[in-house]
């Protein structure tokens, strides 16, 4: 384990700050503030990337690209649009989709695997099983309550990185129908999630 190169005092001070304040410092070129942001969100970013890519090295590459991209365009983060976590995970997701599309079907072995049955590589340490059990149960419940045809397309798209046309081909359903299922399913999830508020960290 590499010892962080930061002066302990400085990092400790930064750790007391919220994400928005840290991002203000980041915009001024404060790398220590960015390191704290990585400490907070690197784990969930990696977990998403690993769920999508299914391979450790590919997931690390995605997280590295995403965090460098976010660092270089910290000016474009707008707190009014959502939490830093949502913004960062949006970038991670986008990078992972790009990576999956670059590597083709080889990178997509896990797509059809239900989330619950995903097996982990032996050398990946599981920190906690899920971010928050109650949250996970709620989200899983919401997904289960969706018509299967909607949850299926959402999972194929979000975790599998497939385009709507690929999914339409896969399922033998018109493209417009797939788009409609995505929209409808997400709208239902949104209605279900919104009372819970946005998960901030």
């Amino acid at each position: 384990m590499k010892i962080p190169r930061l002066a302990a005092g400085r990092t400790t001070d930064h750790r007391r700050l919220g994400d928005e304040d840290l991002m203000s410092l980041v915009r001024g070129g404060d790398s220590a503030a960015y390191e704290v942001i990585y400490e907070r969100h690197g784990g969930v970013a990696y977990s998403l990337a690993f769920r999508m890519c299914g391979r450790k090295q590919a997931a690390e590459d995605v997280v590295q690209e995403a965090f460098l991209s976010a660092w270089r365009r910290s000016q474009s983060y707008d707190a009014a649009r959502g939490s830093l976590r949502t913004w960062l995970l949006g970038i991670v997701h986008h990078r992972a989709v790009d990576a999956l599309r670059r590597t083709g079907n080889d990178g997509r072995r896990r797509v059809d695997m239900p989330v619950e049955e995903m097996e982990l590589d032996a050398d990946v340490s599981v920190d906690t099983e899920v971010i928050d059990r109650d949250q996970a149960d709620m989200v899983r419940g919401a997904l289960t309550d969706l018509p299967a045809e909607q949850s299926k397309v959402i999972e194929l798209a979000y975790f599998g990185g497939f385009t709507h046309t690929e999914i339409a081909d896969m399922l033998g359903v018109p493209v417009g129908t797939i788009k409609g299922r995505m929209r409808l399913g997400l709208t239902k999830l949104r209605t279900r999630f919104e009372p819970m508020g946005e998960l901030l960290s």
């Binding site: 590499k2 190169r5 070129g29 404060d30 790398s31 960015y34 390191e35 990585y38 400490e39 784990g43 969930v44 990696y46 977990s47 769920r51 690390e60 997280v63 590295q64 460098l68 991209s69 660092w71 270089r72 365009r73 000016q75 474009s76 707008d78 649009r81 959502g82 976590r85 913004w87 949006g90 997701h93 986008h94 989330v115 982990l120 920190d127 099983e129 899920v130 971010i131 949250q135 996970a136 709620m138 989200v139 899983r140 997904l143 959402i154 798209a157 979000y158 385009t163 709507h164 046309t165 788009k179 409609g180 995505m182 929209r183 997400l186 709208t187 949104r190 999630f193 946005e198 998960l199």
Partner: protein, 241 residues
């Protein structure tokens, strides 16, 4: 924007929020929501809902060296940003614009000056090629420069910057070489600024400084008289091994 176009985009927002559109369609939606607050809010809310799916993903711990790899790139860029932002010559960082800031596809146009680094030439890291026949240590360090290449060779303590296919600096500027030692702010490669300036796009240039291991050599576009602190984002950064 006609009503039918709006409708078509509106129907695609679910796929957009899930990242399920092909690049061309994604760009069209991104352009639309920049000007349509209704679709922007809708897309944003659906993106938030999609992000909640992460809650069912098993949490994993990334390898410890991933942080170090990221910070090894962030730190020199941060030092440069700080140095440049204290320069009175140019206001370099544009104010953030409001909009669908989370949408990766949208953001390049809004990006800070720092993002230009990504376009002009990111850091590729260093490679050590070893010793030459005479026992003289030769380090060859590579960086990307747009489509070109650049590296630093150090032989008997004399460093050369070799550039190949550098773009011409815009706006009547010239290139200036900088050396960054450790975590310090980058300094002109020589106190005599004229020695640090060059205009060749391919060639071998003496670096008028002695480099220590870990030093970074950077190149920025500067006014013809040179600058004491960088006023633009570097097109070259090499890191010695």
């Amino acid at each position: 924007m006609t009503e039918s176009e709006h409708r078509r985009i509106f129907d695609s927002l679910g796929a957009f929020a899930l990242g399920a559109l092909a690049d061309s369609e994604r760009d069209a939606v991104a352009a639309h929501i920049e000007t349509c607050p209704v679709c922007a809010e809708d897309a944003s809310a659906m993106q938030r809902a999609a992000t909640r799916l992460i809650d069912v993903v098993p949490m994993l711990e990334p390898a410890p060296d991933l942080r170090a790899r990221i910070m090894a790139v962030v730190e020199p860029e941060a030092a440069l940003l700080r140095a440049a932002s204290t320069s009175p010559q140019e206001a370099r960082v544009r104010p953030a614009r409001r909009g669908a800031a989370w949408a990766d596809a949208l953001s390049l146009r809004w990006a800070s000056a720092a993002a230009a680094l990504l376009i002009l030439g990111g850091v590729l890291g260093a490679t050590v090629l070893g010793r030459d026949g005479g026992g003289t240590r030769t380090r060859t360090l590579e960086a990307s420069v747009g489509r070109g290449h650049a590296w630093v060779e150090v032989t008997n303590g004399q460093a050369h910057l070799v550039v190949n296919g550098l773009r011409a600096p815009s706006g009547g500027r010239v290139y200036e070489m900088w050396v960054q030692h450790g975590r310090e702010d980058p300094r002109p490669a020589s106190t005599n600024l004229a020695d640090t300036l060059f205009v060749v796009r391919s060639g071998r240039i003496d670096i008028p400084a002695r480099l220590a291991t870990g030093d970074r050599v950077m190149v920025t576009a500067e006014p013809r008289s040179g600058s004491h602190t960088p006023t633009t984002i570097p097109v070259v950064i090499t890191t010695s091994a």
